[in-house]
């Protein structure tokens, strides 16, 4: 149940693109055609499924406050969490290179479809963002971290697939010249994000307030409360 909840929450409610704007650069740049969007999306799922659990291990056994206790008592007081940025990004960059080499060796067909996207992925903020959110949300087990990696990747995949399909269609529409291309893509993404906001009540059953540690959801909740207060105040 815990796994299922995290799975749907990461895909729909905390969608990488629509809720936290991660990976926007490649999302905008590579979404002109559905076929390339599918390739990049698949590569993102693949790399996230590997790097998030790896970084979870790194975080739990090396970086966290007191994580080095398994080395002996004198190490228990170390807190290396300030190193997490550099360690996470190093893991991601090396994993991407490694995956590229392995895929090229064992599956040339897959390499031909994914290969050109792999270098792009090292600097995709969704990948590093996934690891950083995994750390700040304090995901408990390796299984859940793996689940989180895959489901966030799927959420990103869905987003880029949807926008690529819309952009292919919108070529036949009469968009104002100055909005063509980038401008209209931004506005469509905004409208899609409004749509995705409606998934927010999915796991809570409607009005019931859910307690979540995430800053962003919390911020939205407080903003809604403030809004409600101002409405009350005006009445």
């Amino acid at each position: 149940m815990e796994h299922l909840e995290l799975f749907f929450k990461s895909i729909f409610i905390d969608n990488m693109v629509f809720a936290t704007f991660l990976g926007m650069c490649s999302y905008l740049a590579v979404s002109k055609k559905v076929s390339t969007a599918v390739g990049l999306g698949a590569a993102v799922i693949f790399v996230m499924a590997i790097t998030v659990p790896l970084n979870w291990l790194l975080d739990t056994y090396i970086l966290q406050d007191g994580a080095l206790a398994w080395l002996g008592e004198e190490y228990a007081s170390y807190d290396l969490s300030f190193l997490s940025f550099i360690m996470f990004i190093a893991t991601i960059a090396t994993m991407v290179q490694l995956v590229e080499i392995v895929v090229e060796k064992f599956s040339p067909a897959l390499y031909n479809s994914l290969g050109i996207f792999l270098p792009l992925i090292a600097v995709n903020c969704a990948i590093l963002g996934g690891s950083l959110f995994m750390q700040s949300r304090e995901i408990e087990t390796l299984g859940l971290a793996f689940n989180y990696g895959i489901s966030s990747g799927i959420g990103w995949f869905l987003a880029i697939l949807a926008i690529a399909a819309i952009r292919e269609k919108i070529r036949y529409s009469n968009v104002p010249p100055a909005l063509r291309g980038l401008g209209i893509t931004f506005i469509i993404t905004g409208l899609m994000a409004i749509g995705f906001m409606s998934f927010g009540g999915m796991l809570t059953g409607g009005d019931e307030e859910e307690k979540k540690p995430e800053m962003i959801i919390e911020a939205i909740n407080t903003q809604e409360k403030e809004l409600a207060n101002t409405i009350k105040g005006t009445k």
């Binding site: 270098p119 600097v123 980038l182």
Partner: protein, 214 residues
């Protein structure tokens, strides 16, 4: 203008409008959207990027002849990550509340495409002084968009600027609220950031029709 030749000035002024990193080069969108609900956070983010891109560009430009091209991405990432750790620790020490608001987005400066993009496109091929100017110019271009978006979202969303109530008190009904004005809470939510940037692009491209895509 003894310090800056005409070419050097162009390096700084170009990214402010006609070659803006966000609206034209489409780099560094993620952070531009996520943290612009308040003007203060946008300004701090701009300063952080200014520091990282200015210093990073110089460092990469100094090392450009000794970095093997096969592993250059990893080298660049390590340089950025080091600079970002400095920024993160400084923010935690001197502006703790703000660093909570920015949360993971300080860390995400590492993968901000603006930084990798400028390293690849400029610092690897030019000397340190030019790279420094290019870094400053591009981060100023980034800052302009961030501040415009942050300004409108905070003003229309919560009726404040930098935390000061410029439109009067919403509950006491002073200032413009007296005449029935309401805050648009929707401006504070994520999707409106996208739509605001979309509108900025619209305005910019209608003014300069050369930028229109076919």
């Amino acid at each position: 203008m003894g310090l800056l030749s005409k070419k050097d000035t162009k390096l700084i002024t170009d990214p402010l409008a006609d070659n803006n990193p966000i609206t034209i080069q489409v780099l560094g969108i993620c952070s531009a959207l996520a943290i612009t609900a308040e003007l203060e956070a946008s300004i701090v983010m701009s300063i952080a990027v200014l520091f990282v891109l200015g210093v990073g560009n110089v460092v990469i430009s100094l090392m450009r002849n000794i970095i093997p091209s096969k592993i250059r991405i990893i080298v660049q990432l390590i340089v950025v990550a080091t600079l970002v750790i400095i920024v993160d620790l400084v923010l935690k020490a001197f502006a703790y509340e703000l660093s909570k608001t920015l949360s993971v987005f300080v860390g995400l400066i590492i993968t901000n495409c603006i930084i990798m993009g400028r390293f690849e496109a400029f610092a690897l091929a030019n000397g340190p002084w030019k790279s420094f100017l290019d870094g400053i110019g591009n981060s100023l271009g980034y800052a302009v968009i961030l501040i415009i978006v942050g300004f409108f979202r905070e003003l229309l969303g919560s009726g404040t600027l930098l935390g000061y109530q410029v439109l009067g008190d919403a509950i006491e009904k002073t200032g413009v609220y007296h005449y029935g004005y309401e805050n648009n809470g929707f401006m504070l939510l994520a999707p409106m950031a996208l739509i605001t940037v979309g509108l900025i692009i619209w305005v910019q491209r209608s003014r300069n029709t050369e930028l229109v895509e076919d």
